[in-house]
């Protein structure tokens, strides 16, 4: 009997006019604090190698990513088994400051929708009240939004792919939504 960590859907996939996959476990840290402070900037840099992102954007790199969640909240993303180290880095950098850094890796599920850029955008536009048109939503942007009946956050790592983060408990619902959104014959033909 293994007691290893398992993501909500254990990597489920489905193929329609775009491909949907649950991407397993990811390290995620909610960091709340004064985003303008030098110490928070330093902590984010040390944790991810990235600058504090501007409003509704995400900064990504090889050693991690950081997304803007609210005027006093960031989402720090690193490898799943690196979270404890990253948390420790943040804690020590911000020692003495008023902040909150907490591991939320297990509270989340993450999905990836990939295929043609147009297809990926259309699939998301069926579920989220976000302008998914090219030029309006582009790699580097980050949006906390609603996906049908649940909260979700989305961003595009590149022009052919969207990543989605939602709560773990609704992973199955999210997967089913995406399964239907990419069903063959449902191409809208708007972004192609």
């Amino acid at each position: 009997m293994s007691n290893a960590a398992v993501s909500a859907l254990n990597g489920a996939t489905v193929q329609g006019f775009a491909r949907v996959e649950e991407t397993g476990l990811h390290g995620m840290i909610t960091l709340r604090g004064d985003l303008a402070s030098a110490k928070v900037k330093k902590a984010v840099k040390e944790a991810t190698g990235q600058d504090v992102p501007a409003l509704r954007t995400i900064n990504t790199g090889d050693s991690g990513a950081v997304a803007w969640m609210s005027p006093d909240e960031l989402l720090v993303m690193v490898d799943y088994d690196q979270v404890d180290d990253t948390l420790a880095t943040i804690e020590s950098t911000l020692a003495g400051e008023h902040f909150l850094a907490v591991n939320v890796s297990d509270a989340r599920a993450m999905f990836r929708v990939s295929g043609s850029g147009a297809g990926v955008r259309e699939a998301l536009a069926k579920l989220c009240p976000v302008d998914m048109a090219p030029g309006e939503f582009e790699p580097g942007m980050f949006r906390r939004t609603r996906m049908a009946q649940i909260p979700a956050a989305i961003w595009m790592p590149d022009a052919e792919c969207v990543h989605i983060v939602c709560f773990r408990s609704v992973a199955e619902y999210t997967f089913n939504l995406l399964r239907d959104a990419v069903a063959e014959g449902g191409e809208v033909g708007l972004f192609s």
Partner: protein, 1004 residues
């Protein structure tokens, strides 16, 4: 008879035949037909029966305004009632059935209503007839009305199709793809705006290709083709046909109803797609609808709108009859006469109600040899299931017949009404245009957005600009204005020159003849679907229904599925006349979305099947599913109520779980409990305000149970708070309270105590939480850890970080059951692994997972309260005798001041006690204890009520808690609880703690 002509039919591909069936009859149409044109091509004039009198009904229009020709479309899991044949594209294999008749369309017994009882079914009949005597309503009237109510039949099978939503964003949304819409989209697009142009039909160009004239010297179709290809080449313009603008809402929100696959029902993909669009500006280029004329017999199949007669000839090569009488009050209908004549059909006469007659088109008709009679109208139409002739009279008179003319069709035109629906949905106002006898949008009073500026612009015929040239100029202006309003300043080009024959002035005709006697008025239909006649509206006015909204509801005018697209203006003109006031004084009824009915499924979108609603699942959900979980919804979660063994009843399962937990070992999935981190230098101060008791004095490593009240003092949540370190607390909430309590915390932090240094984070889903409960719980855990969790190593109400079988875990020694109990919190992704491990490790102790019911019963046995049972939003902690959890030392906490109010401090408030039935049975949930006497309403006085009641397997008897007047002072008293069946259950007031009052079981 109606038939397919040898020539004509610009929308048809006659080389492709399509078979379809109507009421089981196999018929043939061709590609490009609507169901309406295909039925007419097969001489199927009679298509349904009216709602009230079951009068024979034929197709009267050619578009979405059609009131009569509604059919049940498809079969079984593709069946849908009330589908308009005029907007249904024919496809091979289509099946449909007519509605609202019995036993058959041709012979309907309901028609006797019309023959015998028409005079007994006037306006307001139902209100007058069925109000007295009252008892008859339930047993006689209602069953009768239910049987005859409703057009069409509800589908019996689950819809097999799929539906979806789509979110889109544009600077300018143009609704309507006629020449005005095309021009407006082009202008806005050229100026640089991002434009969506939608058209409800499969074809672009609207009426212009049928009605003729020239655009820049060319045939309108040439303009349509050229403009379409130009728009298609513009990357900032999106064209969607088969998409109707269904509604306009606040802030430029538009619903677009796209019928993706209605015309190819076997294709993959969604049937309908509902576009939820944000637009900067909306242009309604929705055209106009022709009005019928109100003469006796205007509802007989074969009487049709003049424009529809023309459409069927030109678009579909279908003639309604060989001899068509045209009756009109304006020049437009002359086009129909000319079209018919050109198609080789006969027009015995054009009856022009205007004494002065028409303009250029009238001259043209006369030149073609058509007889034109001015100042004349129709006294009555001859025929029953179809037109056989008309009786002619003077429009100015009372209906004396001057002449009878044989014919098999009547083309009528009472003028045109701009389609102002979308303009009006969000508050756009109308003005009455006396000269054109129509309501048109008042450009000064457009619907306004957040800046106070208008966000809807009407264009073309929808704006009352009927002449081709005017419509194009108006559309250009609209496109430019919309682009400008959305910040686009590019060159918008120029409107092309449209030319068409000039029309002589219309003359309003609301009744034909104008002095029609009552016999004629009772046969002059306003609302064809709901059977409202001129006489009904006049009666309503006489009976005092002066407001148009009242008259509408009293007569049902415009309340049918077509929402009065043909009847409204005529009806309110009749009403105005009866009230002796001008039409604008009467006003219109309210235009509400959707423009024409849209499928309910398109509104539901993906909220069906396994995506009907998000169901939250804990990491152990699958185990529960595999092990007989009897589910209970708790918020959006599913929690096991109990785990049933094969053949076991729910009650037996609960009893087994409780006994085994109390005797040895139980497991509970408590993952759904809310968990909120509260951190910061002011966290203690903050929690002292949120909870009634003191939290700031809690030591790291310790837990404390707390109560949370709202500002009004009422108890809203409870749970165990653990202090993690000096700055950090973890607050457990109820399952249902996790999100709301987090929001409650943030609200106070963001609005009131914004300067306190506190951050919160909802980490509910980060952890799988497992309750390990029972005398053998410690022994089981000790098998999996080397850490010290002995009685001394981890005392009651303490917590500790340990490693359990290699998994990092936080263990809280807390108990909601009264047993020795641990709640283990591990990362959610390892929850299932730990659960499996505990099931394995507990095997020797007969480990028994238990559900929410076991949890509830065990807490009740211990006298613990449950939010939602003992509380209902009106209960304060003092009612529950929880003074021990209310700090006296604190200066303030949320709810403190409210709890000091007179009513809250009243000693007469009902208080919590235990209740024990004298015969050991279980008290009914929610039962009331009665007192002597009756109240002002003659109801029995009460003195208490049951809040929780269960069968206790531990005590083998019913136990309950309840709120009772002066309860705690009345220990031992017996109260009467009447049951619904009239018998009484007697229960004694006792201490609420039924089991192990001294807590010996948990303190080991």
């Amino acid at each position: 008879m109606s038939t397919r002509l040898a020539t004509g039919g610009r929308l048809l591909n006659k080389s492709r035949t399509m078979g379809f069936s109507f009421n089981g009859k196999q018929l043939k149409g061709v590609e490009g037909d609507t169901l309406a044109s295909a039925l007419l091509a097969n001489d199927q004039m009679l298509v349904g029966r009216s709602f009230k009198y079951h009068r024979p009904r034929g197709i009267v229009a050619s578009g979405g305004e059609e009131p009569n020709a509604l059919v049940g479309l498809g079969e079984d899991n593709k069946f849908e009632p009330n589908q308009r044949v005029t907007t249904t594209e024919l496809f091979d294999g289509l099946t449909c059935t007519s509605q609202n008749h019995w036993p058959s369309l041709e012979f309907d017994v309901g028609v006797i209503n019309s023959k015998l009882f028409a005079r007994f079914l006037p306006a307001g009949f139902y209100y007058k007839m069925f109000i007295h005597p009252r008892p008859l309503w339930k047993h006689v009237y209602e069953p009768f009305i239910r049987q005859s109510a409703g057009l069409g039949k509800a589908p019996r099978d689950r819809d097999q199709d799929t539906y979806e939503h789509f979110y889109a964003f544009y600077d300018v949304v143009v609704i309507g793809g006629g020449v005005a819409g095309l021009q407006a989209a082009k202008a806005a697009g050229l100026a640089g705006a991002k434009v969506l142009l939608m058209e409800q039909d499969p074809h672009w160009g609207g009426r212009a290709p049928v009605d003729g004239g020239t655009i820049d010297g060319q045939d309108p179709q040439a303009f349509v083709d050229a403009t379409l290809s130009e728009l298609e080449s513009m990357s900032n313009v999106t064209l969607r046909n088969r998409m109707m603008g269904a509604g306009v809402y606040d802030h430029g929100y538009v619903l677009g109803y796209e019928r993706v696959n209605d015309h190819r029902p076997t294709a993959k993909g969604p049937r309908h797609r509902l576009w939820r669009i944000r637009a900067g500006q909306i242009i309604t280029a929705t055209g106009a609808i022709e009005r019928p004329l109100s003469f006796a017999g205007n509802d007989i199949p074969g009487v049709m709108l003049a424009s529809a007669v023309r459409d069927y000839v030109v678009n579909y090569g279908v003639s309604i009859g060989d001899r068509t009488v045209v009756v009109t009050n304006n020049d437009d209908a002359y086009l129909t006469a000319i079209t018919l004549k050109e198609a080789g059909l006969e027009v015995p006469v054009i009856l022009d109600a205007r004494a002065s007659g028409g303009g250029a088109l009238a001259d043209r008709a006369r030149e073609m040899g058509i007889r034109v009679e001015t100042g004349k109208g129709i006294a009555s139409v001859k025929g029953n299931k179809r037109v056989e002739g008309v009786a002619i009279c003077a429009q100015a008179g009372e209906g004396a017949v001057l002449e009878e003319i044989k014919c098999d069709a009547v083309a009528m035109s009472g003028g045109w009404s701009p389609v102002v629906h979308l303009w009006s949905h969000c508050g756009g106002k109308l003005v009455w245009d006396e000269a054109e006898a129509m309501f048109r949008p008042d450009p000064e009073k457009a619907p306004t957005g957040d800046t106070g500026e208008g966000f809807v612009i009407a264009a073309g015929a929808a704006n009352g600009q009927f002449a081709l040239g005017d419509a194009l100029t108006d559309a250009q202006k609209a496109g430019e204005a919309a682009a400008k309003a959305t910040g686009h300043k590019g060159k918008a080009g120029k409107a092309p020159a449209g030319e068409a024959p000039a029309y002589a002035a219309i003359e309003p005709v609301w009744m034909m003849p104008q002095g029609a006697n009552i016999k004629l008025r009772m046969k002059a239909w306003l609302d064809f679907q709901n059977d409202v006649k001129v006489s009904d509206v006049q009666l309503a006015a006489r009976e005092g229904f002066e407001s148009v909204e009242h008259a509408k509801r009293y007569t049902t005018l415009g309340m049918a599925t077509d929402q009065g697209k043909l009847s409204n203006i005529n009806g309110l003109a009749i009403l105005s006349d009866a009230l002796g006031q001008a039409i604008p004084q009467t006003g219109t009824t309210t235009f509400r979305p959707p423009y024409t009915p849209i499928s309910l499924s398109s509104i539901a979108g993906n909220a069906i099947g396994d995506t009907f609603q998000p169901i939250r699942k804990t990491p152990m959900h699958d185990w529960h599913e595999e092990n007989g979980a009897h589910w209970e919804p708790v918020g959006a979660w599913r929690r096991p109520y109990t785990f049933q063994k094969p053949g076991e009843s729910v009650e037996d399962a609960v009893t087994r779980e409780i006994k085994q937990t109390r005797d040895s070992l139980g497991l509970l999935d408590a993952s759904t409990l809310g968990k909120i981190i509260v951190k910061g230098p002011d966290a203690g101060k903050f929690l002292d305000m949120l909870y009634t008791n003191m939290m700031s004095t809690l030591k790291p490593g310790r837990c404390r149970y707390g109560l949370m009240c709202g500002e009004n003092g009422f108890l809203q949540d409870d749970g165990v708070v653990a202090r993690i370190d000096e700055d950090t607390f973890l607050c457990h909430t109820t399952t249902g309270g996790a999100d709301s309590i987090h929001a409650h915390m943030e609200e106070w932090l963001q609005t009131e105590w914004w300067d306190w240094k506190v951050y919160t984070a909802n980490v509910t889903e980060q952890y799988a939480q497992i309750g390990v409960v029972g005398p053998n719980s410690r022994k089981t855990l000790e098998k999996l850890t080397d850490d010290d969790i002995s009685a001394e190593g981890l005392t009651f109400m303490g917590w500790k970080d340990i490693t359990l079988d290699g998994i990092p875990a936080r263990v809280y020694r807390i108990s909601f059951s009264g047993e020795l109990s641990y709640e283990i919190s591990v990362p959610a992704s390892r929850g299932r692994a730990l659960w499996d491990r505990l099931v394995q490790a507990g095997e020797e102790y007969g480990v028994t997972p238990y559900g929410t019911e076991g949890l509830h019963v065990m807490r009740a046995e211990k006298g613990f309260i449950m939010i939602g049972d003992e509380t209902d939003g009106t209960v304060i902690p003092q009612d529950l005798m929880m003074h021990w959890a209310i700090s006296k030392k604190k200066e303030d906490y949320l709810g403190k001041r409210a709890q000091e109010r007179e009513h809250m401090a009243d000693p007469n408030r009902w208080k919590l006690v235990g209740l024990e039935t004298t015969d050991g049975t279980v008290l009914p949930d929610g039962a009331y204890a009665v007192a002597d006497g009756t109240n002002a309403n003659g109801q029995r006085n009460v003195q208490g009520r049951v809040t929780s009641t269960y069968y206790s397997p531990t005590l083998d008897r019913g136990i309950a808690m309840g709120l009772v007047h002066n309860g705690p002072d009345r220990m031992g008293e017996v109260l009467d609880f009447p049951k619904v069946d009239g018998t009484i259950v007697k229960a004694k007031i006792v201490d609420q703690v039924f089991f192990d009052k001294d807590g010996e079981k948990q303190n080991v």
